[in-house]
Amino acid sequence: MTALAVPTGSGGLRARRGRLGLRVLARAGGAVFVLWAVVTITFFAVRLVPGDPALAILGGPGSQAGPEALALVRAEHGLDRPLGEQYLAALVRLAGGDLGTSYALRMPVGDVIAAQLGGTLLLAVLALAAGWAIALGLALFSTQGGRFAAAVGGAIETVAAALPQFWLAAVLIALFSTGLGWLPPVSTGTAAGLVLPVLTLAIPVAGFLAQVMRTSLLDALASPFALSARARGESGLGVRIRHGIRHAAVAGVDLSAWAFGYLVSGAVVVETVFARPGLGRSLVQAVTGRDVPLVTGIVIVVALAYILITILADAVSLVLDPRLRSEPAG
């Protein structure tokens, strides 16, 4: 990120480097604090809900765990020790980079996440890309000048942004799978199986992105350089594409870090409905199964990813908008 943030303005290079160093340090410190808070909140949230993890490990519907079995499971997972001691042990373990072993899957949490991360990332990245494409299209359409286009575009954005994912998923399945028979309703390991999950995530995100992009686009079109371009005889669409999109994109990038968080939480719904393997589905199973190590591990990875994306979005904004670069950092 230092490479991207090299100042281009005049003078004070050393001072700027110093400020930049501080900024990086603060970011890193903030990240560590966030991770610690996430671990702590997750640990206690999962443990303080009534219910015994040992029983969850052994007892499914209709089965009754024997006393010896429970004692053994408690000892095996350290659940017989005081909660504070368990928390400290978990912190020490996590600080050493060991995410522990999933109760339910009997696998190292790191392995579980490694196996599931790819699916969720692919989903989130594709959904973000699709969301961007739909949002740009919508923004360009709704700012083409006509009052009608603005009204229709605005309405589509608002509705899209408000759609609950589980409902959207059900409608898409009913339409494209059951009705038309074009796309499979479940993940099949093929590209076709990705379309509906990606759309389910992308449509609400596109709604939000388009709202922000349209506003920026309108601002840009009202600015002097757009007027002069139009005076030179450029077409309406040409002006919007050549001069407006960059502004819309900056607004979109700012929102993308937030959108990524939304996509990861959306993966919980989408992966469950479409029976896709991934972190979201694992998280649901881990929470209902009181699988503390797995819940903690997934939450840590998601938090880390979110921090990285925020930094990346900042960096991309700097590249897209030179004005941000010339302003003093911090």
Binding site: V49, P50, R106, V273
Partner: protein, 545 residues
């Protein structure tokens, strides 16, 4: 890894499936297709097991999977009679303390280990070893003191007390027989791929995605009531987990999967009309689904209050409205799959006026502002924790309708939806007046597990199976006698007596059998549910078209 037809040619398979379904004249091409076998795709709505060895823990999702690759000493036929499987015959000593099983000859586990008396001994010891952490299987063989390998083909069970339910317990998938060499690998390895004698073999388990089973080409140990001997027709099974009921059904309609479990009432009703989809209704054995009254504390320690609740609620109307004729009303503590089930519908006739009188008699005469009855300043409030893992949406609505009915006579029923762990915790803390808890077991001995006063003593976990908290010496005596009895008629009479007494004292409100519906494509034939715990078996299954 084997691939499915649908994954190789998604579009073509889909089109073919649709054509076949709409044409309605799909040729029964049993020639090449049957020989080819094909890969069956199964979509389960049950939770993914944490361990494929059903000795470890022991719940229904494990039984579903284990039926494909493990086999038991005995089985049960459609009429409820115990029939030979891995054991050819058996005899019990006069005092009921010694059982001798003659084992089938020439059977091998899929790792080549021979199936013999030593293997049986190893399996029972595995179930009883605390390190196995068995719950269901452990309870099933609780009265087995030791197993003696008399010779390779003869296993003698020594019991600590007579157990008339032994054969039924051994018929369950939770006590199925595995390769001793497989068990010796340790829990972690054995959980991933247990080794049995069944028609399929665990090829691969991609956790949180699918289990892949392939055909056991050397299979030769079909149960006595199977459709054919020798290996299965299918080349394999792809076992998928699709938690969402609507997606599961959509996948079946689209031909992505061949069979689904946990079919919901609305989709079953839909499927009746849809071309090309067939229902298999296979209620689970053991206990019926019932609402139990916590008789261990007020207000349900008073039989009049229990009867008042029963008279106030219209179960039939609620079932008819919410289950679209897919569930039949039960009036017995036992599943209709149990030949010894006894019911008496007359005890459950709806009569709100009688309910009101009973509550008046019991002293609940005052009313507060919202109409809830009061007695000595206490409201007639009932806590009803409901596990969302065990009660589907239709059942939750059913409970709400019953609560509305009970409200008219002055009960304030508080339904609390919770996940399985919290639900166990609420029960262990005695924080309930009403509860619905399934219990699956082969045979009427399930009555002993859920209604004997011994079962009110909590395990260290706090959980106890006798959630109605019945402590009735007469019932205990009858259950003990039934357990020790060697005479089938005497046993039947004793279990009937127990059920009569439970019902007459309004200890429970039976609702319906444990719902266990499967939907499959019509192209899939030869599927049946095992008459043991109603898990589907695909030994005789064929995929056509």
């Amino acid at each position: 890894m084997p691939r499915t037809r649908t994954r190789l040619l998604p579009g073509a398979a889909l089109a073919a499936g649709l054509l076949a379904a709409t044409a309605g004249c799909a040729q029964t091409a049993e020639g090449p297709e049957a020989a080819d076998g094909g890969i069956l795709v199964y979509a389960s709505g049950d939770a993914e097991p944490t361990c494929l060895d059903p000795h470890v823990g022991g719940n229904y999702p494990q039984a579903l999977a284990a039926t494909q690759f493990l086999e038991s000493l005995v089985s049960r036929d459609a009429s409820g009679e115990i029939i030979p499987w891995l054991a050819e015959s058996w005899k019990v000593s006069g005092d009921g303390l010694s059982w001798e099983f003659e084992l089938r000859d020439g059977i091998e586990f899929t790792d080549g280990t021979p199936f013999d008396a030593e293997a049986v001994k190893t399996n029972i010891e595995h179930l009883q070893d605390p390190e196995t952490a068995s719950s269901t299987g452990y309870l099933a063989v609780a009265k087995v003191a030791s197993v003696e390998a008399v010779d390779a083909g003869t296993a003698r069970f020594h019991l600590s007390a007579p157990d008339s339910a032994l054969l039924e317990s051994l018929a369950q998938p939770w006590t199925a027989i595995q390769s001793p060499a497989g068990i010796a690998r340790g829990t972690d390895a054995n959980c991933l791929a247990p080794i049995g004698t069944g028609p399929f073999v665990v090829e691969d388990w991609v956790k949180q995605d699918r289990i892949v089973f392939t055909r056991n080409d050397d299979y030769a140990s079909a149960p006595a009531d199977a459709g054919h001997d020798g290996p299965a027709y299918l080349a394999g099974i792809e076992w998928r987990f699709i938690a969402d009921a609507a997606t599961r059904y959509a996948a079946l309609q689209a031909g992505e999967v061949d069979i689904i479990d946990n079919a919901q009432p609305d989709t079953i009703a839909q499927a009746d009309e849809a071309a090309g989809i067939v229902e298999l209704d296979a209620p689970r054995p053991g206990a019926s689904n019932r609402i139990e009254f916590n008789g261990g504390q007020a207000p349900f320690d008073d039989v009049r209050v229990r009867e008042a609740f029963v008279r106030a609620v219209d179960v039939d109307a609620a079932i008819a409205g919410l289950f679209f004729d897919t569930a039949a009303r039960s009036s017995s503590p036992l599943s209709s799959a149990e030949p010894l089930a006894y019911g008496d519908a007359s005890l459950f006739e709806v009569d709100p006026e009688a309910a009101g009188r009973l509550l008046d008699e019991a002293g609940w005469t005052d009313r507060d502002d919202d109409g809830t009855r009061m007695k000595d300043g206490a409201r007639l409030e009932l806590r009803f924790p409901v596990s969302t893992n065990q009660s589907v949406a239709a059942e939750q609505s059913l409970f709400e309708q019953l609560a509305a009915g009970a409200k008219t006579v002055g009960f304030d029923v508080r339904i609390e939806l919770m996940d399985l762990s919290s639900w166990y915790a609420a029960l262990a803390a005695n924080e309930y007046e009403l509860v619905s808890a399934p219990y699956t077991k082969v045979g009427p001995d399930v009555l002993r597990i859920v209604y004997h006063s011994d079962s009110t003593a909590p395990a260290p976990s706090g959980y106890f199976a006798n959630l109605a908290q019945v402590r009735d010496p007469e019932i205990d005596a009858a259950l003990d006698a039934a357990s020790a009895s060697q005479g089938p008629d005497e046993r039947a009479a004793l279990y009937e007596q127990v059920q009569q007494r439970l019902l007459a004292n309004y200890r429970l409100l039976p609702i319906y059998d444990q719902q266990n519906h499967f939907l499959h494509r019509a192209e899939l034939t030869g599927v049946r549910a095992m008459p043991t715990v109603s898990t589907p078996t695909f030994l005789d299954a064929k995929l056509a078209g």
